[in-house]
Amino acid sequence: MLHDAWLMAKKDLRIEMGSRVVLGQVLPFGILILILFGLAISPNLAVIAPNEPIAGFADRRSVLSQVAPGLFWMTVLLSSLMALNRSFLIESQDGNFDALKMAGLDPAGIFLGKVLAVIAQLLVLEAALGVGAAILYQLQLTDAVLLATAVVLATTAVTSAGTLYTALASGLQARDTLVPLLVLPVLAPVLLAATLATESAVFGPASDGWPWVLLLGVFTLLYVGIGIVSFGPIMEET
């Protein structure tokens, strides 16, 4: 399983290095979304910070800054859909799923490999988008460890659930439109937990964020587990 996973991941990443689709197309798309959110939500509006003011921070914060963590994760989700689509496109462009099956690769290995490769790509993407969001939405980091943990766990959860559902929807038609319908409701809790953890990492206090990171960890384990178990039955007769 791990041998196959590593092989698949290396192959997918090499293809990405060669084609630069995620970095060259998905990342600009994400940055564009960040800018568009800024236009849609006026950066001038100010809100009173919730609860007690935090030392070192102004009491008043623009609406845009306030909702920035959510916007960031929304952008990541939309971008991840594109990255996942790409991940399956490279297998279906020349019937390669047939060859993967003929090679007798472990379906769980294929799943993990795809997940690993997309995680690697998304982490790069998130780093860039995170810097972008910090600049565009005027955010300051208070707890880097919390943020990093949340990002890694959320990315793993998004990718594993996304890979599973993209495989489920892969077929002759309608994948492009069906995948968001299947994936986004499932990822709603991940969006929620990741946003709240990020809010704590940005606005503090960090102690509020760790329970959500724990929840993200549970999601991650759950979706990776479900993916490993059910990827075989999904791929079997396709």
């Binding site: 038609q173 709603a188 479900i226 059910s230 039955p233 007769e237």
Partner: protein, 292 residues
């Protein structure tokens, strides 16, 4: 392709008279009249009516109608307004039973999916699909009646209450399940994927429900619950609603399953026709073999 077209043409010719005798005047009594109508016209094959009805479903339909009428009578007329929410509380008599039917539907989907994965029989696949469709429809009822109840009670149609929010997410998830069932895939592949999704969806429902609960709980506490005091007559109305909706749900489930079964039979028949046509093609086309 030619086979399908051919069959469709034949079907159109035949179904014209049979839909004509379906009652068009009163859709409310549709199931009951429909049953009788087909029994009369189909006297030759009384035991096998054309559509999805049968003796069992006719009885079930009558029971559902009676219970539904009783619910309306008790819910809207006999039982009085509730102390806090006044007449809006009457929505409970359809809201809560819809919840029950929706959740039963999704539970049956789970059971059907698990059994399909174990036995690989089309029966369980069709059961799971039929139950999911009914679950989705009743979840829509839950959301709509929930919102209609919310307006007079909370002053807004939509409150980000954990229950409403997670129900909405669940609703979309099962729409996705139905979409997977409609994918253009080989039948076995589609059934298999639907079954996997039918199982995973339940896990997702719990995850979504739990996390949203936690989210709202942490943020503003569960202050949104409204005091209710149900007297005996109200509880009786609610009970009647449960009975009526569960019977209706069962009736719908049986019919939806049978529709799926008939469609399955139809696709099997189309396939047999297509095989027969290919056989004919093989016999006439051997000339190619000799020529080449």
């Amino acid at each position: 392709m030619t086979a399908a077209g051919h069959d469709r043409g034949v079907g159109k010719g035949v179904d014209q008279p049979s839909t004509a005798d379906a009652p068009a005047d009163s859709p409310y009594s549709g199931n009951q009249n429909g049953g009788r109508g087909s029994a009369i016209t189909d006297s030759a094959s009384k035991d096998h009516p054309v559509g999805t009805e049968s003796k069992l479903t006719r009885r079930l339909g009558v029971a559902a109608l009676v219970a539904m009428a009783a619910t309306l009578f008790f819910g809207l007329i006999v039982s009085g307004p509730e102390v806090y929410q006044r007449d809006a509380a009457r929505l409970f008599y359809v809201h809560l039973p819809s919840v029950a039917v929706a959740y039963s539907g999704f539970t049956i989907t789970l059971i059907g999916s698990v059994l399909y994965l174990m036995k690989k029989s089309i029966f369980w696949d069709l059961v799971a699909g039929a139950a999911a469709e009914i679950g989705v429809i009743f979840t829509a009822f839950v959301l709509i009646t929930g919102m209609l109840w919310g307006k007079p009670t909370w002053g807004v149609y939509w409150q980000w209450s954990p229950r409403l929010t997670s129900t909405a997410v669940m609703f979309v998830m099962y729409i996705g399940y139905l979409a997977v069932r409609n994918l253009e895939l080989p039948a076995e592949v589609r059934s298999q994927r639907a079954a996997v999704l039918g199982v995973i969806n339940i896990a997702n429902v719990f995850v979504v429900h739990f996390s949203i609960q936690w989210w709202r709980g942490l943020h503003q506490g569960q202050t949104l619950g409204v005091d209710t005091q149900l007297d005996g007559m109200m509880l009786f109305s609610l009970f009647l609603g449960m009975v009526a909706f569960m019977t209706t749900g069962a009736w719908l489930l049986v019919h939806r399953f049978r529709l799926g079964w008939l469609q399955h039979q139809q696709s099997k028949m189309l396939l047999e026709t297509a095989i027969a046509e290919r056989n004919a093609e093989a016999k006439t086309a051997t000339a190619y073999g000799q020529g080449a």
